[in-house]
């Protein structure tokens, strides 16, 4: 039996590994660099900036925020001066991980996102729902912001 020189690089490939290994890892690094759910100013700190989409409907603004693994009681939504703020925290479950982590890509810790909306919303009509890791916030527009149809009489 030949003696094989120990290659520390091999240790980087952990037990359940990505099928494309190193190549995928490099692609992911590039991908991560351009990810939108990361604060550009601090690549190393890995600030968590959950991805959000905002859609305008006739009667309401609808925001969808990706918060996988977050408990709904750990999310706080506020609306002030047309600025929607979502903040919260994802706690890392430590128990049962005594064998150590092979890979940690998911985000943990606290986050905060703020969006200023183009027009005022009804402060008492805002509703939020958390389902399958997505927080959906429906904000009905205030009367004056809704599209109005005005009939103009021709003389």
């Amino acid at each position: 039996m030949a003696i094989v020189r120990w290659n520390p690089g091999r240790e980087l490939v952990n037990f359940p590994t990505d099928i494309l290994g190193m190549q995928r890892e490099i692609n992911r690094m590039f991908d991560d660099f351009f990810r939108t759910d990361r604060d550009e100013s601090s690549l190393l700190a890995r600030d968590w900036k959950p991805a959000a989409d905002i859609v305008e409907e006739d009667e309401a603004y609808v925001a969808k925020v990706e918060l996988p693994g977050v408990k709904k009681d750990d999310v706080k939504i506020t609306m002030q001066d047309n600025v929607l703020t979502i903040r919260g925290e994802k706690k890392e479950e430590k128990k049962g991980k005594e064998g150590g982590a092979h890979r940690v890509e998911r985000y943990y810790g606290s986050f905060q996102r703020s969006f200023s909306l183009p027009s005022s919303v009804k402060s008492n009509g805002i509703e939020a729902e958390y389902k399958e890791g997505i927080l959906t916030i429906t904000m009905p527009k205030a009367e004056e912001a809704r599209p109005k149809q005005i009939e103009v009489r021709v003389k």
Binding site: P16, I19, K64, G99, R106, G133
Partner: protein, 132 residues
């Protein structure tokens, strides 16, 4: 550290939102954590917007593949003012080493997180070696 930057969302008419190229059928790899317990390897995958019924977990020739469309992410009719999510679904593959009991794999989905538990074979579990 939290991000206090505020994003001003403008009306759709004044600033058209450009959709990422090929968004319609792009399946991107979900972020994953892999950790080890005494008797299993556990893979946790962030798959927000996936529906339990449409997630496919396949074991084939030592490969574990996971895929699902992100249905819950789809927009209602309206004007997209701001868009950060990418892709229309999730897809990722892992190659499994020796020592995993392929007949004993457990998967469950909660709060947008898919947790797959791959139990170790007897020979991979920690055991004491007696000294002669």
């Amino acid at each position: 550290m939290t991000n206090n930057k505020e994003i001003a969302v403008t009306h759709g008419s004044s600033e058209p939102v450009t959709r990422p190229e090929g968004r319609e059928d792009q399946y991107l790899p979900p972020l994953a954590d892999i950790y080890e317990t005494q008797d299993a390897y556990v893979i946790m995958l962030d798959m927000p917007g996936a529906q339990k019924e449409s997630i496919r977990v396949r074991l084939e020739r030592g490969n574990l593949t996971v895929s699902a469309p992100a249905i819950g992410r789809a927009h209602q009719p309206g004007t997209v003012l701001h868009e950060e999510t990418r892709g229309t679904g999730f897809s990722r593959a892992f190659s499994l080493g020796e020592g995993i009991d392929l007949k004993n794999v457990d998967a469950h989905f909660q709060d947008g997180v898919l947790t797959i538990k791959l139990f170790k074979n007897e020979e991979l579990k920690p055991h004491e070696i007696s000294i002669r």
